[in-house]
Amino acid sequence: MTTPAAPPIPAVSTANLTRVYGAMTALDTLNLTVNRGDLFGFIGSNGAGKTTTLRILATFLTPTTGTAFVFGHDVVAAPNEVRRILGYMPDFFGVYKDMEVTEYLDFFGACYKLPAAKREQTVKDVLELVGLSEKRGSLIGALSRGMQQRLGLARVLIHDPQILLLDEPASGLDPRARIEMMAVLQELQRMGKTIIISSHILSELETLCNRVAIIERGKLIYAGSVQGMEQKHGGRIYLVKLAADSEKAAELLRTRKEIAEATALDGHVKVTLAGADVDASLIAETLVPAGFRLLELREEEVGLEEVFLRVTKGETQ
């Protein structure tokens, strides 16, 4: 008889993770699991608890209560093991402006105790990966914001970590630099790295991440796939184009309990169905017998931003 294989250890798992600062609870019993190889989006308003979570996972902060494991290592009991396999990029640069690019990476390589013989090649490789090879001899102070951000990413990669924690890596970047940064992250995911990325730019997370979590006031609101989230919280929205009287049509639609919301907009009516079991034909069945002429009926795509606005209340701490 063969014993069933043990489930793989998740990249990150937290249980009832709580962090209190004085009277403020920054993290409130957070239970989160990130699988190996995930590109995981961590979403929340300012002050929601994203940075606190990342700092705890990076072993920079200790939780008040609860536990957090990174690849099976407890962040409190075995911080050194965690630090060796984890790369943390905070939401600031953390650079010496009077240092050269290679010097900076060489220094952090030495801090991670990489042997000197290996370090030179590693520095070259990570600079190539983030597209900074041409700037290797430049002073950091002379680099643009986008380049400094990429240098931060190169620093994170210097010790070849299995998991990357990136706090707002694309903030303040111009569109081109942002697209390039996202491409680098996708390349890293292809290389098998697990990436947790906190960001406000939800449209990018939507296409980039395979799983997301939404956090508000330190509490986890949702964790799962992007599609699952849109199905669960998105509802279905239809745009109805009418020949006339869109205001009256919206009024009529609102009388149906299967319709959550109906709003008239420039000759259109935006209709949100209340449940997954309700069919779009209900709209036609309601409007046509009442004498309205339907010119067009189409489903509108619900994005992550729309879902985020629906599930969060915009509360900050």
Binding site: N80, P90, Y96, K97, F108
Partner: protein
């Protein structure tokens, strides 16, 4: 010219700093303690000892003004440049001179609190007897003159610098120039007069006399008040007042120059080709480049944090600059002074070295806290203990060459003029303080927001406190045991607390 918004903002910021209150209370308490100690240990304890206490208090205040005021003022404008707020101020109707005046007004008030804190004690000397109005007037005028010159040094350094270590170094150099100018104003009239033969034969002796006269170290004013006629006293007082007016004029001139420098600094520009050329010629290694690189690479492999702290030419300049400076001073002393004075001057050299160590210790990991690198270092496999050990080791290493010169000079002087007590006391005191100061400095550097507060606490706890205890317990080899033991214990406690601060991340984080 508008400067009120800057002044109001500066006042508000000052009022919000809780450390300020404690520093003021601490300074007043320290002065009161010294006052009581001096009364109780004076030659005529309890009666008519005002003439014994007054000169010592004045000397203390005089020294404190030259030491503390430039350091306190050095970062007032340079901080705005570093934080990028200076340019924003000039988008408003404020003028550079207005900004400088607004900033300087607060610095004047801060500096005056030093004088005000000492006033009750100085006035108390009247009650004890033996102090004349001439003593009091001379002390007030000399201290105010010093205060304006020291403020000028700090403001000018701050306007010309961006980084605080550079501002601090410039402030110390400028204040040295200011003190030299003040002393010269006393030396020159005598030097040119009929009784200037002695000064002409020994210019250093002349400046030593001027320093003693300004600090009233030999109670010259009391003797003068007793022996001189009213006209002579009036003439001397007029001389002091003229020097004060000159100091105020210099301060005004410095404000104008600082305004111009600030106007220029607001438009940040990259270094010119000439500056780059100078840097290449004087700050970068030209010969044995391969050997230099191999050595630095080896250091990086063995101790990355040591490499970090010694990588810049600034750090190397500081290390060897102290050594070279001390060699020059010792050479000058041995050439122009008697051997007895040479040995006596070693206490001043040791104090200067400790002053340098205190500055370096109080600046521990300050840059790393500001730019966020400390946070990044704490998520590498390096432990908090490694960070602490590395920093302390580096402060010691930085001052090792200068310390070797100092110890050699003391021992050399002792071999010619044996004075086992002075030598033993000096070396014991210097050794323990130099060894423990980096621990104290590191703790305060991590726990305080501003460098000045960290430095004042470091210098106060590791240098002034043991010295005060030594004075109380009388200056003897046995008397040194208690303060030095306390210094050692304090450093052990603060080392543990520094470790706790880093582990619990209780240090103030940078503001992005």
């Amino acid at each position: 010219m508008t400067f009120a918004p800057v002044l109001i903002r500066e006042f508000r910021e000052e009022a919000r700093r809780p450390a300020n209150r404690w520093v003021r209370v601490g300074v007043a308490a320290l002065l009161a303690t010294i006052f009581c100690v001096l009364i109780s240990t004076g030659p005529q304890a309890g009666r008519a000892s005002g003439d014994y206490v007054f000169p010592k208090l004045h000397a203390l205040l005089f020294g404190a003004i030259w030491l503390v005021v430039p350091v306190m003022t050095a970062d007032c404008i340079s901080r705005e440049r570093r934080e990028g707020t200076l340019g924003l101020l000039f988008l408003t109707p404020l003028t550079p001179t207005g900004v400088v005046i607004g900033k300087s007004a607060l610095q004047i008030i801060r500096a005056l609190t030093l004088v005000l804190a000492a006033m009750p004690m100085l006035a108390g000397c009247f009650a004890l007897g033996g102090v004349t109005w001439f003593d009091f007037g001379a002390s007030l005028l000399i201290n105010l003159t010093s205060l304006f010159l020291a403020l000028s040094a700090g403001m000018l350094a701050s306007a010309l610098s961006r980084e605080w270590p550079r501002a601090l170094a410039a402030a110390i150099v400028f204040s040295g120039v200011g003190l030299f100018g003040l002393l010269a104003s006393f030396v020159v009239p005598v030097y040119r007069g009929p009784s200037g033969a002695l000064f002409r034969s020994s210019p250093f002796g002349a400046f030593s006399w001027a320093l003693n006269y300004c600090s009233d170290a030999n109670s010259d004013w009391s003797r003068m008040a007793a022996a001189a006629t009213a006209a002579q006293l009036s003439s001397a007082m007029t001389g002091f007042a003229v020097r004060l007016l000159a100091a105020v004029a210099i301060f005004g001139f410095v404000l104008v120059v600082a305004g111009l420098a600030v106007r220029h600094a607001a438009q940040e520009s990259p270094p010119s080709p000439f500056q780059l050329w100078l840097r290449k010629i004087f700050c970068e290694p030209l010969w044995l480049l391969r050997l230099f690189r191999a050595l630095t690479r080896r250091k990086l492999d063995a101790a990355p944090l040591s490499w970090l702290q010694q990588r810049s030419w600034n750090a190397r300049l500081t290390k060897w600059g102290w050594c070279l400076g001390l060699v020059v001073v010792e050479t000058v002393l041995i050439t122009f002074f008697s051997l007895h004075d040479f040995l006596g001057a070693q206490a001043v050299a040791g104090a200067a070295l400790l002053f340098g160590i205190s500055l370096s210790s109080a600046g521990s990991y300050r840059v790393e806290r500001q730019n966020g690198v400390l946070e990044l270092l704490l998520v590498t496999p390096m432990s908090e203990g490694e960070l602490i050990r590395s920093r302390i080791w580096n402060v010691w290493l930085q001052f090792l060459p200068a310390t070797a010169v100092f110890v050699f000079a003391v021992l050399a002087a002792d071999s010619v003029l044996p004075n086992s007590f002075e030598t033993a006391a000096l070396l014991q005191y210097f050794g323990i303080i130099a060894a423990t100061m980096p621990f104290v400095g590191l703790y305060f550097a991590l726990r305080t927001k501003h460098f000045i507060t960290a430095w004042v606490c470091t210098f106060g706890f590791s240098f002034a406190l043991p010295l005060s205890i030594s004075v109380v317990t009388s200056w003897s080899v046995q008397g040194l045991a208690l303060p030095l033991f306390l210094s050692f214990m304090l450093s052990v406690v603060l080392l543990a607390r520094a470790q706790g601060t880093l582990t619990a991340r209780r240090f103030l984080l940078h503001t992005p």
